[in-house]
């Protein structure tokens, strides 16, 4: 599977939100820690629903959390 061209700022946003751990974020959005890790590393593109949930957790618009690189 090709690496996605969807980049994200999840790592940065986690640190800005009281150094939230991957496990804490995973629990908030209802996935496993490994899935958050794969999304952060841009190995896995989340579903639209999960992407919105992550953006909502950080109280940021979707485009701040995820960016599509052309």
């Amino acid at each position: 599977m090709e690496e996605t061209r969807i980049e994200n700022t999840i790592r940065k946003l986690r640190f800005l939100n009281g150094e939230m751990t991957q496990a804490q974020l995973a629990e908030k959005v209802g996935v496993t820690r490994q899935t958050i890790n794969a999304i952060e590393a841009a190995k896995y593109s989340p579903s639209l629903e999960l992407a919105f949930k992550i953006a909502d957790t950080f109280d940021k618009p979707l485009e701040v959390v995820f960016q599509y690189k052309k």
């Binding site: 599977m1 629990e27 996935v31 496993t32 820690r33 490994q34 190995k43 896995y44 989340p46």
Partner: protein, 146 residues
């Protein structure tokens, strides 16, 4: 290691154990190897029960885990199912072609590996377990990759 990945490993190992045990039991071992057959069978049974024990243990101790299965696990399971389905279809097609050829050339020109219903049944059982092994191997590959 996430629960689903551990379950994939245990399923792979138990499928392999059952397959080996099945092949051992249907093979006619020569007399000097009878002892080896018993020892190998016993080892495989122990491995099978060990994987069963791990699966039950996971159910008991990891039940309070927040999320067991998410969309990534579903995606990986889908890839596993796809490969297993393709493998199963190809194997069944191969068996059917072999049977047809065997019938066509039953005069003895071609000696196939299929002889009668019993052999066909064994072949299908083996293919079923192999398909499961293909599925679990694919899933484990994607768990490492994704």
């Amino acid at each position: 290691m996430p629960r689903q990945e551990i379950l994939s490993w245990t399923s792979l190992v138990s499928s392999l154990a059952i397959l080996i045990f099945y092949i051992i039991s249907i093979l006619d071992w020569p007399a000097p190897f009878n002892n080896l057959e018993t020892e190998l069978g016993s080892l495989v049974i122990k491995i099978f029960f060990l994987t069963l024990f791990i699966e039950i243990g996971l159910d008991i101790f990891k039940r309070n885990n927040t999320v067991d299965k998410d969309e990534r696990d579903e995606l990986i399971a889908g890839k596993g199912f796809k490969n297993a389905y393709l493998f199963f279809n190809a194997s069944v097609a191969l068996i059917l072609v072999q049977m047809t050829l065997d019938k066509l050339f039953s005069s003895g020109l071609i000696t196939g590996f299929m002889y009668g219903t019993a052999s066909l049944f064994h072949a299908l059982i083996i293919v079923l377990f192999l398909a499961n092994i293909v599925k679990q191997s694919t899933m484990l590959y994607y768990y490492q990759k994704l």
